[in-house]
């Protein structure tokens, strides 16, 4: 980096994350919007790791337990997330199967691994791949919410398919666990402060 690149921290300014105003470092409340400000998000890595561990813990029941039970013509079938994807694949709904596979299997795992790597790279004081890591962080921010697709699909099926004794669908504990995974990973991404990645240049 050239010597003329200065960060807000170098000139003793804190960026307000609510309204993007620069305030003197010593202030704890933003002069424009009244929100609380910090030079860096407080305990960023610890809080991120805590939410990630929560997400991993919920991820196990989310995949073991079924997300819904179908009662059709007197028969009872429980389906898990992966089972549902296979079912769609067999019905030749390839696009939908792919969307749900990416949203509920790939995205949560990718997001957890990426955030773990970002936290680890801060602990190791890596000074390379700064731009790449910031871009990956933005990716985790953006993709997180799309994992909710499967929970919403269950919600729609449960609401609609209540056809007397003929066909009915009940939600089961797996979908709650999965919703918790999504929320925990979103909170993890939210608590991470990407400015810490660039702070490694100072040392």
């Amino acid at each position: 980096m050239s010597s003329d690149t200065k960060t807000a921290k170098d000139v003793a300014l804190t960026l307000c994350l609510h309204c993007h105003k620069l305030n003197p470092v010593s202030w704890s409340v933003c002069s424009r919007c009244g929100g609380s400000i910090h030079l860096r998000k407080p305990k960023s890595v610890q809080v991120t790791l805590a939410w990630l561990i929560t997400a991993i813990v919920f991820y196990i029941p989310a995949n073991i337990f079924p997300v819904m039970t179908t009662y059709a013509f007197g028969r009872e079938t429980a389906s898990s997330i992966i089972g549902g994807i296979f079912e769609l694949w067999e019905q030749k709904s390839f696009v939908i199967a792919a969307i749900i596979f990416v949203a509920s299997i790939i995205i949560p795992i990718l997001k957890i691994l990426l955030l773990l790597w970002l936290c680890l790279s801060l602990k190791l004081n890596l000074t390379e791949t700064l731009k790449l890591r910031t871009s990956l962080y933005r990716l985790t921010l953006w993709i997180g919410r799309w994992s909710m697709i499967d929970v919403f699909v269950v919600a729609i099926l449960v609401a609609l398919l209540q056809l007397g004794g003929l066909l009915s669908i009940q939600p089961t504990i797996g979908s709650l666990a999965f919703a918790c995974v999504v929320i925990a990973t979103m909170l993890a991404a939210e608590s991470f402060d990407p400015r810490l990645i660039w702070d490694s240049l100072e040392r």
Binding site: M1, T5, K6, T7, A8, K9, D10, L13, L15, L17, H18, C19, H20, K21, L22, R32, C33, G34, G35, L88, Q91, S93, I96, I99, I100, L130, K131, T134, S135, Y137, R138, R145, W146, M148, I149, V151, F152, V153, A155, I156, L157, V158, A159, L160, L161, Q162, L163, G164, L166, L167, P171, S175, L176, A179, I183, M186, P194, R195, W198, D199
Partner: protein, 211 residues
């Protein structure tokens, strides 16, 4: 200090960019989008939000999808999106879905009207403007209207293999609502909003001095 801006993602200090219509400014170091300047940013947001509210009502009022099989018929409105979970005792799951699909989007729309309507038409600020604006910007990412739309299209495919389904007026209203809300929120630029708010505050101070 006035004409400086710092990047949210890497803390780089830069000069405040002067943008023409439809231009965007990215951070020189990490590539983060600093500011975008769409045409009539805030007016457009307000009009899209107004349209969204009307369409949201329509999506709640008209049935979206109805399913039929061997004489049994059942239909679903947006309002019932989370209801079935409550009926089965999954109240926590029901609450989560209710919040991200119904409560949060609706609250955000009302709060944006509360903020922008007096700002644009009367150059006045409502009480607690700062607090409400901070709330809107932090709740924004928790509203999952677009995700629900994709989920709905996915479930329609799944449903057609099981029962006979019919699409109602509600679903078209919901698709339009989802597009309008996305357009409104995409035009609500944080930087522009707070700068505009500053301008109105200055305006008010000048007015008081004249009197």
């Amino acid at each position: 200090m006035r004409n400086l801006i710092a990047c949210e993602h890497c803390d780089l200090l830069m000069e405040y960019p002067v943008l023409n219509h439809a231009q965007q400014a990215h951070c020189l170091r990490c590539g983060n989008l600093l500011m975008s300047r769409p045409k009539h940013s805030l007016q457009l947001t307000l009009s899209f939000i107004t349209a969204s509210i009307i369409l949201f009502m329509a999506a709640n009022f008209f049935p979206m999808i109805s399913a039929e099989e061997a004489g049994f018929k059942n239909q679903m409105r947006l309002l019932e999106a989370a209801y079935a979970f409550f009926a089965y005792g999954e109240w926590l799951l029901g609450f989560i879905v209710f919040c991200v699909v119904l409560l949060l989007p609706f609250t955000i729309m009302l709060l944006i009207v509360y903020l922008l309507l007096p700002m644009i038409f009367y150059r006045r600020l409502m009480p607690k403007t700062n607090f409400v604006a901070r709330l809107v910007f932090s709740l924004q990412k928790w509203s999952m209207v677009d995700v629900y739309l994709v989920a709905m299209l996915a479930s329609i495919t799944k449903l057609t293999s099981m029962v006979t389904i019919e699409l109602g007026v509600g679903i078209w209203a919901y698709i339009a609502f989802s597009l309008c809300l996305s357009a409104a929120l995409a035009n609500l630029d944080k930087q522009r909003f707070w700068r505009y708010l500053d301008k109105i505050k200055c305006h008010q101070i000048l007015k008081q001095q004249k009197m």
